[in-house]
Symmetry: C2
Subunit: 591 residues, 2 copies
Amino acid sequence: MTSYNAPVRDTQFLFEDVFDVYESYTGLPGMSDFNADLVNAILEEAGKFASQEVHPLNYSGDKEGCRWDDGKVTLPKGYREVVEKYVEGGWTQISEGTEFGGQGLPRLLSGALLEFWMGASPAFGIYSSRDGSIAAIERNATQALKEKYLPNLVNGSWVGTMAMTEPHCGSDLGLLRTKAEPQSDGSYKITGTKIFITGGETDLGGNTIHLALARIPGSPEGIKGISLFVVPKYLVNDDGSLGDENNIYCSSIEHKMGLNASATCTMNFEASRGWLIGDVDKGMRAMFAMVNHSRFLVGVQTTGLSEVAYQNAAAYARDRVQMRSLTGPKNPDANADPIIVHPDVRRMLLSQRAYAEGSRALNTYIGVLFDEQERNEDAAKRAQAGQLLGLLTPICKGFGSEMGTENTNLALQCFGGHGFIAETGVEQFVRDMRITQLYEGTTGIQGLDLLARKVLGSQGETLKLFTDEIGAFCVEHADVEALHMFIAPLSELKEQWQQLTTKVGVAAMEKTADELGSASVDYLMFSGYVTLAYMWAKMAAAALGKDEAFYRAKLQTAQFYYQRILPRTQVHAQVMLSGSGYLMNMHADDF
Amino acid sequence: MTSYNAPVRDTQFLFEDVFDVYESYTGLPGMSDFNADLVNAILEEAGKFASQEVHPLNYSGDKEGCRWDDGKVTLPKGYREVVEKYVEGGWTQISEGTEFGGQGLPRLLSGALLEFWMGASPAFGIYSSRDGSIAAIERNATQALKEKYLPNLVNGSWVGTMAMTEPHCGSDLGLLRTKAEPQSDGSYKITGTKIFITGGETDLGGNTIHLALARIPGSPEGIKGISLFVVPKYLVNDDGSLGDENNIYCSSIEHKMGLNASATCTMNFEASRGWLIGDVDKGMRAMFAMVNHSRFLVGVQTTGLSEVAYQNAAAYARDRVQMRSLTGPKNPDANADPIIVHPDVRRMLLSQRAYAEGSRALNTYIGVLFDEQERNEDAAKRAQAGQLLGLLTPICKGFGSEMGTENTNLALQCFGGHGFIAETGVEQFVRDMRITQLYEGTTGIQGLDLLARKVLGSQGETLKLFTDEIGAFCVEHADVEALHMFIAPLSELKEQWQQLTTKVGVAAMEKTADELGSASVDYLMFSGYVTLAYMWAKMAAAALGKDEAFYRAKLQTAQFYYQRILPRTQVHAQVMLSGSGYLMNMHADDF
């Protein structure tokens, strides 16, 4: 059986020592209540809830799965109750605006808590969040619609979904066929089939608010003719009470590789009433408010799952005795040593740790950017935070999901043959992780988003914002002898990042646009490794000179990352420049 | 639903064009019947059986799993019948010696067929093979025991198991507790619990012949006191008929991440009668005859699963339309292009193909070595083949399982979100592959076996045998302009392989033995990439100048491998020399 301890101490370290948020947030409006005492109390409380209430459901929820019966979906035993407890505890309100009943605390904090929920049980983590739906409505809907839907989403009594994918279109939403026919009262009738709708139908009660993409008759083909609608499961009367059902039917749920406690639904909209949010045909833009949130959520899932997998692997490695150390018995009273004496077991554990802690730092950094983007009174600062957020989101999600899958697999590997046995629990982490490379845009999509849209699309300006920040950090710490092993390579890598960008951009212009697609995933991975290197250098700088095991371990993990993981950047650098010909020459029929 | 076409053409290419076996085997005794016509007929027939009879069970077998009921185990629907058909077809006899009823054809051939069974359904692939049991008995048992057990194993009416692992000992067999008490009639009473016994109990009928490791009272502790016994499920009378049950009870089967159609059993031996094979306390040595076979079997599983995963991913990529090519519409009549136009999808497909075909070449090469080792009349040649076999087995199994997991995951990735759905079928390939990194010795064990035992244990002689062969190949093809892009890097890499070996060996002697454990998995991966590079260079040389899509695709895949996969060697080279300190410095309690 697995266990989970929410990384409260590590989160505190990031908030206080690495990002110094209690100091830096004083400049943001509405942050007068934001202080270490409050936050630490919340982290402790949330950590207990995650470890003691949520995590015990994780294994049984996977085995039981969700049940579909004539359109109704029942979550595995315990999930409804624990979600209710979570809602009653006010956890959905932490970082939502006070206008609609939220507590107005920073996104930084809800992001940290999200990792706790994800680590405890990723299906619960998904049910916990309404951020994307709230953001899409808050930024795009009319005041009347906001007042109708936001209070109950914020207080958690209703849930939200993203209804985008259709059987014939996933990555390519331009192909979608769901229709939205305008009605005389200003509403629309939505008709079509959506698949892979997470939580499309559940027994969580209240109302389910679908944010659905659909095409208005006469609108252009492709993504330029798509609009976004709010389509509630139950119509909402003007007094806020629930009215009739809205002809939305869950026709099946998927049998999946993992994440079995999360209901993945096929939803049929049959002339269901919906209300436009954002402008006609501008649904993709309106939806982008959700996309950063939902991709961040997936990135956080990779951290949470890596953390819980690491914790269990480390415990097993300390406990399981098998063979002797190559340098002689370390446990002479027993007939074998714990397997943590073996360098290769440590390699696997440190790799997991380097990713879990490194990505937690990145999530924290992104949390700060969310808050800057939403709250900073200086418009230029808001815009700059938005740019960095755009740059780091595909890294957090795309690179993160690749690393997450690698590292939960390493956790499984630490268990040897026992890792393959369901009851050990670690194989579930691998299966639950695997979806992160797929949903909310595959790794391939993230790579193109980063390289083509975010980096080249801004003529390199967005990247420069970030590499300048890294450069300033390197200059600031250039004289610290003990950090030299981090600062020197980091400084070179941020230069190389710029140079590679130029080279790939030039190749795409001079040769063929396929140079982008041929380089993009390697570019994403290179970018990810450098980003985590920056995070580890920041953590090393914060831990330096503090004589306690916690800080010593930070420096040791940073060293491991720089020595044994970071060299991978050079393969990606070489391969991304190898040219698209080696991919494109083979005729499609010859595959 | 998935489909599977056995790679008959590719196997023919390897036999004839790459390894020229019909020519080279004429020098081996008993090979007068071995010719292309016979082999091609067998490959065709086996391919049909694999695709049409076996593969259709693969998906349903996974979903249904094995059933345990009061000690009896029932395989999923169809498995018993297809195994019976397989046995009736004489497939178990192909490469076994004629003395006990085999057909005496080369291991090369049964190895190629094993891939077909593994690709069609890995659980069936495992049930198909009795090679390890037969080899262990044939090389170690008395003539009387051979006559008692071998004919029915060879004709397939009985099955064999390896009963090694116990709850507290997997990698470290020295800890085993199963007792073997000598009886006055020369037999032993075996008592103990074995876990993870593949096919320990099934409804396959006949008899199950366990090869069990146990300790005779008074024998030394550790692996020096272990003996090997043949322990039949039913005692065998002198006339060959089956007698009483032998007190062997299957107390449970495992619930696993995958390979669900393969019964993984906990077996309780309760004073069960067994007969020593090999010498007292020399069980580990006797078992080694099985270990090469069983590790090769796992390597072949990685090839078979990579092949079937690739085939289905390639078919999907040609069929699924989604988005346009970055260079403009390739399919202008439809509203999107098939996803095979995208460079990143091709990257994933070519990676799978490079591994599936590259490892098939390696398996073929190993098949030749098995035959050389068993049949060559020159003792020095036999010994040399044995050395190479020892060197390449951990590469085939250890490196192969890492690559296999990577590549079935890439196959899944080609399906996008649909890859996560059980009905698509590809996620099963990932789960069924995952065990290959664990059973028959984890990747960590394979790394140490390669570096410490095989390479350094022979003072580098065994490695030199192989790198000399690569060197000779490079010299032979040095003047072929069209092969230069393969020969030049290959020639450098085999030098680097030697140099790295020396460096790691010296570090281990001068610093600490932990340098071995800290380098071993990276050493394994480096070795594997170079070995596949040799295989791809051989295939490129064989395909050169032949104007047909099949051969052109070989050259294109070889180019892909050299350009986009082989650069990884340099990370492993760097990391394996980074020193054990970065792994060992952290205190065990700080993990």
